[in-house]
Amino acid sequence: MDVQAILSAATGHGAVNPWAAIAYLVAGILFILALRGLSSPATAQSGNRFGMIGMTIAVVTTLLTHMPKGADGVLDTISLVEILAAIGIGAVIGIVMARRIAMTAMPQLVAAFHSLVGLAAVAVAAAAYLNPQAFGIADAAGQIFTVSRVEMGLGIAIGAITFSGSVIAFLKLNGNMSGSPIMLPGRHIINLGTLAAIVGLTAYFTQDQSPWVFWTITGLSFAIGFLLIIPIGGADMPVVVSMLNSYSGWAAAAMGFTLGNTAMIITGALVGSSGAILSYIMCRAMNRSFISVIAGGFGGDDAAAGAGGAKEQRPWKPGSADDAAFLMSQAENVIIVPGYGMAVAQAQHALREMGDQLKKEGVNVKYAIHPVAGRMPGHMNVLLAEANVPYDEVFELEDINGEFAQADVAFVIGANDVTNPAAKTDKSSPIYGMPILDVANAKTVLFVKRSMGGVGYAGVDNDVFYMDQTMMLLGDAKKMADDIVKALSGTGH
């Protein structure tokens, strides 16, 4: 028997082809290996290739077992061409997007990709609803099995929430929509009511499979995704992006239940737990509960939303690029702390040049990354990698925090709240309890900031600005780094 015959031997409704089942299992295992590879940058590329192989296996298996056939059982060539064309169109768009995207725009791209997974899940669930026999989830009379109805309801709800939530996240991250929270009056009641309606309708769907039930669930789910994300501020985006990542996984898992497909279930569970763990890590790094992030209303981009009122003017020490260059060239150990401001100013390349210059002068340069620096998990690491900073010079909070005490200079660029000692000392501060980078322990702190006006997303003043050993370098992060590079190369050591 040839492969085709073996694969199509048992594709009747509901029957599971053992070869196809094994192929899907292999695909699922390859996806596990894809994530396993990410435990180290050295193995990550091969992990990514495992993922690609797994996906190829899943797609080819499905194509072979579900060839489009006409009423007479003959291969429907036109449909097959349409399917291959659809894959081709997606491939071109996807590859062009992946090539062109700037690394600083990664969070938007990921949000856009999440929205596509969500919408695809909705489309598949709708297709399964309209043609249940093709999916083997209905009896001869067209009555969809009860358990399949629940799975379908869940799939479409999660898919729709992922889609509309990701669209809002995309608009906020891309700057098409203000990053500050948009608060509707009575939003908690609206949200809870909508959620309750979705759950209730899904339960009712098991009794009545009329179209209005199905489409109302869909519509309400689109609405709740939108309502959930608009009150969440820009700085909470790392949690939101991780959460939507998780949802896109659960959507795939729900569809996997409907189709009884192991590859989809394994993947869905992997992606779902991955996103959930990332959300947890992000929340822990801000000392905020997941519920309070979802409840929203915190972390607008506008500093004006902060404490307000007349603040006392405290003295601070301004510095120039030349001062900074001099101080750092005399130092033994310099720790660089990048934040979202570095990404906004696209300062990563200038910063790496600065680091290279310093290394040439024999200075020991390290980078310290706070887990929530930037707009998505690992955002700073990718930008530094893009600028050719070797990954073994980049350290996580817990690995480097003890070293600030031995550092001659802490160079903070575009980060603020993640260095604020108020998180440790001031119980009334909104960021109290958040783990911070102890830059205040360094002998000298150089703080690059656009102006003294803005006070970070939390709207909290930072005591580090006013310490004796702090020098404020006011200006655009990229320009400041460029000027320091010039000053360093001018000194001619």
């Binding site: 449909s79 899940a121 297709a127 996997g256 992606v271 690992g378 070797p390």
Partner: protein, 93 residues
């Protein structure tokens, strides 16, 4: 497959996911998101089934639309992950 066996696979896969994801180094959290994005587009399996099935034209076109969306994600997700991973380099000694 019956519901219980599928559910068992799901629960076990959640545990595997839990342990595998905790072992991912924080430096690679962004590539983790983009690769999970790519693999969650395995939903293309459902899309392919819908677009190959006879019986409902709407269902077929929804399937084809989902195939396009999922393959944008698959190709885009793997390509951008690989682009990012290529940037992570060790110190030259």
């Amino acid at each position: 497959m019956d519901f219980i066996s599928i559910f068992s696979i799901f629960v076990l896969a959640c545990f595997v996911g839990y342990f595998v994801v905790w072992s991912v180094t924080p430096a690679l959290h962004t590539p983790l998101m983009s690769v999970t994005n790519a693999i969650s587009s395995v939903i293309i399996v459902g899309a392919l089934i819908a677009s190959a099935a006879a019986g409902s034209a709407t269902s077929k076109w929804l399937g084809l639309a989902a195939v396009v969306m999922a393959s944008i994600n698959i190709f885009g997700g793997f390509a951008v992950t690989s682009r990012m991973l290529a940037m992570y380099k060790k110190k030259e000694r």
